[in-house]
């Protein structure tokens, strides 16, 4: 490991003297391993499953590369807003959602696209979403990463987030056992702006709401600092930025929105992450003799099919695998694989607790920052907005009260 590497948890930046080689000597092994594993999995998907899954795997890899090179995380961005009044990350997220919504609404309003009916990330807006998202918000600030953040930092070689993933999976599995009860609580049901208002008005309303939040965040930063950080800001790095990063948040927002649209067109549904965690947990539990197939959740339609089929037949799982391998390859190419890894025991404890909270919260609130917030709002689902508000509230609570109380900062 070269001495000029930066800790991975820090914003991903390449200093002028850190990127002379396109392929750092010390990271050849992870690059070859990640590249080889990606190639092998792509071949298996292409040959034994189908071209669609193979394409989705590639989309997942591109998502991983983008997330890693731009350090596009929700957790750090929200924390910066709460603690430092810096809104750059949140504004990039809002831009990303707005771009995706502009493409999603007409696609979802159409009866079919290319002979295929597309389905948005719709879910009932109710108590389950509110509580689950709030719990998720606490968990993400304890763990230091959300659903996508957990995966791309694991790809980047984070041991701590590997621990988070284990309890994330466990929490999601427990959530599947309790989801029936949560859904018996009051709810407005599925509210789709695409259906209620139509695509043009729905887009206008969504963009207006996103603009209001964007303006509030911008105002907050300007009031505190006198000026705002531009979205296109990126650390100086000579050449090879495309292959080694860093990418600006603006670039990442555009690319991630485009890739979510591509996901919708190929998979028939928007980008999601955490469903797969529950599925992995159920498969692992089943392998150890637990009769999860007797649970109501795992007897229902798609869930039963997913449990009784290859994990490679599940679109979300395949994209998650791609995301991790893509970010691993990107980190290795940039010479940033597994750097800055000195973690105290308390760090692992919060990672485990945070993962558990996130897994449970994501399951009962129908997704994470990606499946519920990004894809939900972009699909015109009211639950996405509710999720956003409640997760941010949970996040605020953790950053302002829980973390200081536990002396984590």
């Amino acid at each position: 490991m070269s001495s000029n590497k930066l800790p991975f948890g820090a914003p991903f930046q390449a200093s002028a003297d850190s990127v002379p080689s396109p392929f750092p000597q010390s990271d050849r092994l992870p690059a070859f391993v990640a590249g080889g594993a990606a190639l092998a999995l792509f071949a298996v998907l292409f040959i034994t499953v189908g071209t669609r899954q193979a394409w989705l795997f590639l989309v997942g890899m591109l998502l991983g590369v983008t997330l890693l090179y731009a350090s596009f995380g929700f957790t750090g961005g929200w924390r910066r807003l709460v603690l430092e009044r810096r809104s750059r990350a949140l504004r990039a997220q809002l831009l990303m959602v707005g771009l995706a919504a502009t493409a999603f609404f007409p696609l979802l309003a159409a009866p079919s696209v290319g002979g295929k009916a597309l389905v948005g990330a719709l879910a009932p807006a109710g108590v389950a979403v509110a509580v689950g998202a709030f719990v998720f918000g606490i968990g993400m600030q304890l763990a230091g990463g959300c659903g996508s953040g957990t995966l791309f930092t694991i790809g980047g070689g984070s041991k701590r987030m590997l621990a988070t993933l284990t309890t994330f999976v466990l929490g999601a599995l427990i959530g599947t056992a309790h989801l029936g009860w949560w859904l018996s609580l009051p709810s407005l049901g599925n509210v789709s702006l695409v259906k209620e208002l139509g695509a043009p008005v729905g887009i206008a309303v969504t963009l207006a709401a996103l603009t209001v939040v964007y303006g509030l965040a911008r105002h907050c930063e300007k009031k505190a600092h006198g000026a705002i950080e531009p979205l296109g800001m990126v650390a100086p790095a000579p050449g090879r930025r495309l292959l080694q990063g860093p990418w600006s948040l603006l670039t990442a927002a555009v690319v991630l929105a485009a890739l979510n649209v591509v996901t919708l067109l190929i998979a028939g549904h928007p980008w999601s992450i955490t469903y797969a965690f529950g599925l992995w947990g159920a498969k692992i539990a089943q392998a150890f003799g637990f009769a999860v197939s007797d649970w109501p959740f795992w007897q229902a339609g798609y869930n039963a099919r997913a449990l009784n089929s290859s994990v490679l037949a599940d679109t979300t799982s395949v994209m998650n695998f791609g995301l991790m391998l893509g970010s691993a390859l990107a980190a290795a190419l940039a010479g940033k694989f597994a750097v800055g890894q000195s973690i105290p025991l308390r760090g692992y404890a919060t990672a485990l607790i945070g993962g558990l909270l996130m897994g449970y919260g994501a399951r009962v609130s129908f997704g994470c920052n990606i499946g519920a917030l990004f894809s939900g709002i972009a699909s015109g689902s009211l639950h996405g907005w509710l999720w956003f508000a409640c997760a941010f509230a949970g996040s605020w609570l953790c950053v302002r009260i829980i973390r200081p109380a536990l002396k984590l900062d």
Binding site: G268, H269, F297, Q299, Y302, S309, V311, F337
Partner: protein, 140 residues
């Protein structure tokens, strides 16, 4: 990157890869051609019923049953036209072909191809109860 780190991530990758491979092999249907989404719902009835009623050690035999096995003198337990077996094993939540499987109990929609009672679980009462919270939302 330290040696310990290399060892840890190498082990994780190996274990995860082995688990994925084992799961995939257990459910893979080598003799089946790639299937279309539209016919997957139909073949699922066979797979689902087989998995619940006559579970096999690997699960492979359930899926191979009607598609590639040699003709048997005994009557087939599930009457599904052979053409319906030519589907894919890939699927996605909430896709159009899943509508029949995810229909809400208040307005039970007929499955696109196969008869509704044989779709997922052997107990209709359980199905009525559980499908209620299995809209697309559960898959995000």
């Amino acid at each position: 990157m330290t040696q310990r780190h290399t060892l840890l991530f190498g082990t994780v990758l190996a274990v995860a890869g082995t688990a994925i491979a084992a799961d995939h092999i257990a459910h893979w249907k080598p003799s089946a051609p790639r299937r279309s989404i539209a016919t997957e719902a139909a073949s699922d009835s066979t797979r689902g019923a087989g998995a619940h009623a006559t579970p096999s050690a690997s699960g492979v035999s359930d899926t191979l049953g009607a598609s590639s096995a040699s003709p048997s003198p005994a009557p087939a337990p599930v009457a599904v036209p052979p053409v319906e077996e030519e589907g894919i094993i890939e699927f996605s939540p909430c896709s159009a072909s899943m509508d029949g499987l995810m229909a809400a109990p208040v307005s039970p929609a007929p499955a696109p191809v196969a008869p509704a009672p044989a779709l997922v679980a052997p107990a209709p009462e359980a199905e009525e109860e559980i499908i209620e919270f299995a809209p697309c939302a559960a898959a995000f």
